[in-house]
Amino acid sequence: MTPPLAGLDGPWWPLLSLVLFAALPTALWRVMAVLFARRIDERSEAFTWVKTVASALVMSVVAGLVLSPSGALAAVPLVGRLGSLVAGLAAFFLARRSLAAGVVAGEAVLIASAWYAMGR
């Protein structure tokens, strides 16, 4: 475990470390965005580009969670994880674009795969 910084240890260290090393590095980008967004028009080319890049970024995070998972999800084989995602998408479209139907179907297939893979 990483030891507290010398001289700053104490009852406030957990909160201080959270603010310094997790909250501020994240807030940095939110504040930068406020400075940038004032100069960006909703219908501009730059805005359109930023939006497609952000969509692809998030999709890539999702791909990472599915393709190289951690914890209990890693015990489900790749075919089970991808199959569950496909099942979720299929149910979503079949149920007239219902998010809830898609999530329930995807989860059902995933939990069934996990149950099967872990030998019941």
């Binding site: 959270l18 970024l57 999709m59 990472g64 209990a72 995933l110």
Partner: protein
């Protein structure tokens, strides 16, 4: 059909409580056990959800402390993982713009941006009148963040009590919800291209750039290709629209 600010706020909160708030809440319940592992008290675990409000950043923070990483390395990793908030927030703020809005209000709105609130807002806000968007967004986001902080606390208390199959289901909630939410929000061909390439190029980017930088590489490449396809399709129409 109420059009008052309070009505919009409650409508946003209600829409969040139907499903999205619980999805992100479940995904952040996993932060509780991680925080407990490094000896943080339950209120700090819950504060991490309120103050950081970014699942991957919180996972990195607690995972890195447990692994004994240097503080500078932890801050850099968190910083890189949160880079996605720049384009996400830049793309959501113009939708929430209203006359007389100061930088402080914008910074407050920016704090609530996370993958769930972003995908759902991008999908729902354009259909709302401009003056109703901020109250709706605040209702939606506050419901998400408060439910999630509560769920982080529940995860802290439940630590390790879940069977493995349900644990796998819990971890799958985030990817399946985001995939569907992004799909639901895709309005035109470029959006669909960005999603398909964003998924498909990730394994290649992981090989080329390694974990940590692969997301950024994929996002820029897939997003730019999708944007260029959209622009190529828009051009001819623009010329047709010109007066003779």
């Amino acid at each position: 059909m109420t059009a008052s600010a309070g009505g919009r706020f409650l409508r946003g909160a209600r829409d969040a409580l139907v499903l999205p708030a619980w999805v992100i809440g479940f995904s952040l319940s996993g932060i509780g056990p991680l925080a407990r592992e490094v000896g943080h008290p339950i209120e700090i675990a819950m504060a991490s959800t309120l103050l950081v409000w970014a699942g991957p950043a919180q996972v990195l923070f607690y995972g890195s402390i447990a692994a004994g990483a240097a503080w500078g390395t932890i801050a850099l990793a968190v910083c890189l993982s949160s880079l996605r908030f720049l384009p996400m927030t830049v793309s959501i703020l113009p939708l929430l713009r209203r006359p007389g809005q100061g930088a402080f209000e914008q910074a407050l709105l920016a704090h609530y941006v996370t993958v769930t609130t972003w995908t759902e807002s991008l999908r729902r806000l354009p259909d709302l009148p401009v003056e109703g968007r901020v109250p709706y967004y605040l209702g939606f986001s506050n419901a998400c963040i408060l439910v999630s902080a509560g769920m982080t606390g529940v995860g802290y208390l439940l630590s390790g009590a879940l069977p493995l199959t349900l644990g796998a289901g819990l971890l799958f909630l985030t990817p399946v919800f985001f995939t569907l939410s992004l799909t639901a929000g895709a309005r035109a061909l470029p959006d669909a291209v960005a999603l398909v390439l964003g998924f498909a190029l990730t394994p290649l980017a992981t090989l080329l750039a390694g974990r940590g930088f692969d997301t950024l590489l994929t996002g820029v490449v897939a997003g730019t290709v999708a944007y260029l396809i959209g622009r190529a399709r828009r051009r001819p129409a623009d010329f047709e629209a010109l007066p003779p």
